[in-house]
């Protein structure tokens, strides 16, 4: 139990080192990996898995994944990027991901927030309301 706690704390510290100016820095991550390899801390696999989780969550926060059923123009992506950058006060990059199950409309995911204006989503809310 204690060991697990220490590993978690260390992973958190390494994660904090890897974020520079609110964004994950590839350089820092490489440095952290090098340090882990050299010093071989306890429970390295658990440590790296935790570390990976934190980094992935952080990256997801500055990435807008735009799921769509029809076509999405670059202009739309740019607009979403702009809006999300302003909303979250950090640089957010948008990428498109086709998903025919949505029927029509868009679903934008930033971190754990989801913005939905799809027909499928509206149907789901409707069906849960009846």
């Amino acid at each position: 139990m204690r060991a697990a706690k220490k590993t978690k704390l260390l992973a958190k510290q390494l994660f904090k080192l890897s974020v520079v100016n609110g964004a994950v820095s590839a350089e820092q991550v490489a440095g952290v990996l090098g340090w882990v390899e050299k010093t071989a801390p306890r429970q390295p696999v658990t440590l790296l898995k935790l570390y990976r989780g934190y980094i992935a969550a952080e990256i997801a926060k500055s990435r807008a994944i735009v799921e769509h059923a029809g076509a999405v123009t670059d202009a739309t992506l740019k607009m979403i990027e702009g809006a999300m950058t302003q909303k979250y006060r950090r640089v957010v990059t948008a990428s498109a991901k086709p998903n025919p199950a949505l029927i029509a409309g868009l679903r934008v995911r930033v971190g754990s927030d989801v913005y939905e204006s799809t027909v499928a989503g509206q149907l789901a809310t409707l069906s849960s309301a009846v």
């Binding site: 934008v108 971190g111 754990s112 989801v114 849960s128």
Partner: protein, 510 residues
Amino acid sequence: MSNVIEQIESQIAKLSSKAVKKNTGTIRTVADGVAKLDGLSDVMYNEMVQFPGGAIGIALNLEEDEVGCVVLGDVAQLKEGDEVATTGKLLSVPVGKALLGRVVDALGRPVDGKGPIDAKETYPVEKIAPGIMVRKSVNQPLFTGIMAIDSMIPIGRGQRELIIGDRGTGKTTICIDTIINQARINKVGLASGAKDFRPVYSIYVAVGQKQSNVVRTIAALEAAGALEYTVIVSAPAADNPANQYLAPFSGAAIGEWFMENGMDALIVYDDLSKHAVAYRQISLILKRPSGREAYPGDVFYLHSRLLERAARLDGKGSLTALPVIETQAGDVSAYIPTNVISITDGQIFLETDLFNQGIRPAVSVGLSVSRVGSSAQIKVTKQVGGKLKGELAQFRELAAFAQFGSDLDAKTKAQLDRGARIVELFKQPQLNPLAIEMQAAILWALQKNYFDSIDTKQVVAAANSLKDYLTTRKADLLASIRNEAKLSDAIEAGLKASADEWKATFAAKK
């Protein structure tokens, strides 16, 4: 021109298809009805979260990078990696008169197969109890129909009176009798059309009980015609612990609706020992630190916030609570019993010994109190039953002495005889609550020594024959006791005439 219309229409379309924002997460683990979730960075404490497949959860543990959540419903179809979304809503249940006569689960969904419930409103399950300013002191009676309780441990509307005792000592029976009595009073009162009559609606919350017991309770209420004034919230032993934990709070929300809308309600929590056990299970699985008897530290707060919701509100209605606690071998100093005793306004203690001696209801008069009830007692009961508690206490003391078999003086013997008769008179079969006017008439006869010449073994039969006599011949007298609620000269004369007449016929029959 059509161009303009199109513009407006596209604007409308834009507005109506406005994107909805949700906060989502994924399931990390599901075990024992508790899910640990990743993400859900915006979730609130006690917020409802939506699982795939319609199951609902409640976020109970908010940690740095994980959310602990109890799942209400089927966990079998949930798996790791499933997406979970916040709803922005706190858990709420349907409330209102549409629920009367129905059996619902902890989420207010009907489980009696009588079709959907047409409720117009919902109330949040967790709600802060009414504050000091809006409360009013308890001074209206709530009659249980049990003579030993109404005369010596009276309960008022808005009070919280604990029913405590070992397994199988008649705790549930007292609560059911009380509910049935409310239904009888409601029927009489509503039929009379009196303007200031306030009916009492009942809510029976069954937590962690055997399904068969709940069915028996429902059948008893239905047979007595009390179901139409009662809502039953059922979270039986086979239900998951999250539902058992929530059921009393859902019941309280249903009761609060009556209170907030100017009506009086009675809620029975049967029982809070099992509720505490369900909460302990959830807390242990959520890895909250455990304390005495492995209960979590906030089990006191669990019950205090629940029972504080019972109140009498100024200018509105009231909610009276009868929590039930099961003790082990009569030990009231265990953790949960002491907690609940300290939160309530008194307790009715049921003793196994008395129960086995055939003294039923097995109310231990010495250990039972009602801290606010006497101001809620009607005058006639005070007049005829004011001294009973003292007399019974004296009787117990003397009875202990008398066991040594030494010669007793006449006065002691008289006191013993009288005590034994009071004990007999307070015996009452189950599902048979007595109207307050009938209780008053019987106690008046006791006070005026009408039972003294009757053999102790015959007292129960005598009381029954007096009841029969009064119901069949003296309905007017009973009605005037009920309406005046005090012993006027006319009533006392009426009682004397009836008692004399009855005594003559009773003696003649023998």
